[in-house]
Amino acid sequence: MDLFPLWLSLQVSIVATAITLVLGVPVAWAFGRRRFPGRDLLAALVITPLVLPPTVLGYYLLVLVGTRGPIGRVLDAVGIELAFTWRGAVLAACVASIPLLIRAAQAGFEAVDPRLEAAARTLGRSEWSVFWSITLPLAWRAVMAGAVLAFCRAFGDFGITLMVAGSIPGRTQTLPLAIYDHVQANQMPEANTLALLAAGLVVVLLLGLGRFVRLRY
């Protein structure tokens, strides 16, 4: 049986989670620990991808990054293919999972006692150092919880990926798309195998990760 969709999904979701973390943690920090005009509105807007039907969201993304879209045209000129490639699947996964990460991490950042940060400042640390040595470690549990959620959501994305990357076998057909394809073609044994593999893999991954990167404090 062709296991390409499994590897593809792993690849896509790992890369997508990494990007989501890099983009999402600073945003979550800003929402959680800084006050600025429009903050509450922005924080609420971040949640909207969760509310839209995935294929619709995927369609909007496609309009943006497809060959006719503003972003897509620029990328085309530079020779970068985004839509209908695994990168498109990564984009879809990021869009799907970033709201989850931001909300989870934001709660963690909000809970950090500001006086601990104040103490760190009086002890001679720069803002950057305060973030890395105090704020992030104390919000670590929430950030990790958000990352786990993000990974699972990225792994299991269907609708957005379907539109932005397409379900091209051997190229962009991720595991969820492959399972769906098998089900539609009434190939239940294949579908079930893939589904079991997906669930099993994710469980093993998360258990292993949890053990290895033990949560300090």
Partner: protein, 372 residues
């Protein structure tokens, strides 16, 4: 040493203070919410005042007019927060070493170990704050603030989180530490005994303003006004009426008695007859007249009065008696007129438990008048 002038406007509260501290330890004393912690935050650079000037030694940390605002991490101050604000995810050793980043690793470890040893914390170096007792946490907070050798130490209610016996013990410890390290300090407290014990000079806060700034003994004996006396929680704060006032003496009427007090140190307070006058008498300066002596020698016993002990409380080494005068009319302080403090020994010898009727006197120098 330290010169502070601050103005900060917050919704519902305005801080507007100005005081100088030539001494080593300055206490900021006053009721909760009077702006003491806010002052410390401004000193530390955590809050930006609207106007003012902060100078430590020869370093200008803040000057609104000149546009100077040294950032918090460059001020080199140590801050012991109320509740200590220890980093829960770091060990004791890491907490103490936190401010020593700029030192090379070896030097950092050495210094942290030294600080821990001086504060008696060496055995706890690898523990987390959650595993420590209140007293231990307080010492870690101190060590963390002192390790970088700051120019000034700020302490916010350093003992409020502890129980009474521990408080006393640590208070004495702190006095020793401050003296030994030779670091100047500003201590915030709402407990007068604490302020008196720790600080050389006390600045009294009330409602965002300074109502008195004086060396501690001066504050104790000469509160600037009745409201300061009230903030200090002085017992026997009483109201009388002036009979006659001269630069040396003031004669006043109180509860049917004619009392004579020395005038205030300035000798310039001359209220007219009939004017109301606030005064206080320290409980330990009321003398009970022994009954085995003959009738009072008036030269010896001034301001002689007579009354009954209506209430007494055992404080271990002393007894506090509450005396109601043999005068008609409502007593001055609820159910009694005067609070008197006698050492345990005196209580027993005079058999006060059994014998409740007493004559007592107050030396005119022990009646402190409070200018309006």
């Amino acid at each position: 040493m330290l010169s502070v002038a601050l103005t900060k406007r917050l919704p519902g509260f305005t801080l507007d203070v100005h005081w100088d501290a030539p001494d080593m330890v300055t206490g900021l004393f006053g009721p909760s919410g009077s702006g003491k912690t806010l002052t410390l935050d401004c000193l530390a650079g955590l809050v930006r005042p609207d106007a003012g000037r902060i100078v430590i030694g020869d370093r200008v940390l803040f000057d609104a007019a000149a546009g100077i605002d040294v950032v918090s991490r460059a001020r080199r101050l140590g801050y012991v927060f109320q509740g200590y604000a220890l980093f829960p995810h770091l060990t004791v050793a890491d907490n103490v070493a936190y401010g020593l980043r700029e030192l090379p690793r070896v030097e950092r470890r050495r210094r942290a170990a030294e600080v821990l040893a001086r504060l008696g914390l060496s055995g706890l170096a690898q523990r987390r704050p959650a595993e420590l007792s209140g007293g231990e946490r307080q010492r870690v907070a101190l060590g963390r603030a002192l390790a970088p050798e700051p120019a000034l130490l700020l302490l916010d209610e350093p003992f409020s989180a502890l129980d009474l016996p521990l408080r006393r013990a640590l208070r004495d410890d702190l006095v020793g530490v401050l003296r030994e390290w030779g670091t100047a300090a500003v201590v915030v407290t709402h407990d007068f005994t604490e302020a008196y014990r720790l600080a050389d000079r006390i600045v009294v806060y009330d409602g965002g303003r300074v109502v008195q700034s004086a060396p501690r003994s001066e504050l104790l004996w000469q509160p600037a006004s009745e409201s300061v006396a009230r903030i200090m929680g002085i017992p026997n704060l009483l109201q009388g009426t002036v009979i006659k006032a001269t630069p040396d003496r003031i004669q006043l009427r109180w509860r049917g008695q004619t009392l004579e007090a020395v005038n205030s140190p300035t000798r310039s307070y001359l209220p007219p007859p009939g004017a109301p006058l606030a005064f206080f008498v320290r409980p330990e300066y009321v003398r009970l007249v022994r009954k085995d002596r003959m009738v009072a020698d008036l030269g010896h016993h001034m301001n002689l009065m007579r009354g009954q002990v209506v209430n007494d409380e055992d404080f271990g080494t002393t007894w506090t008696l509450r005396i109601r005068l043999d005068e008609p009319g409502p007593p001055a302080q609820g159910a009694w007129d005067l609070e008197v403090e006698v050492p345990h020994l005196v209580y027993e010898i005079l058999e006060i438990e059994r014998d409740r009727h007493w004559e007592f006197s107050i030396h005119r120098g022990s009646i402190h008048v409070l200018p309006a």
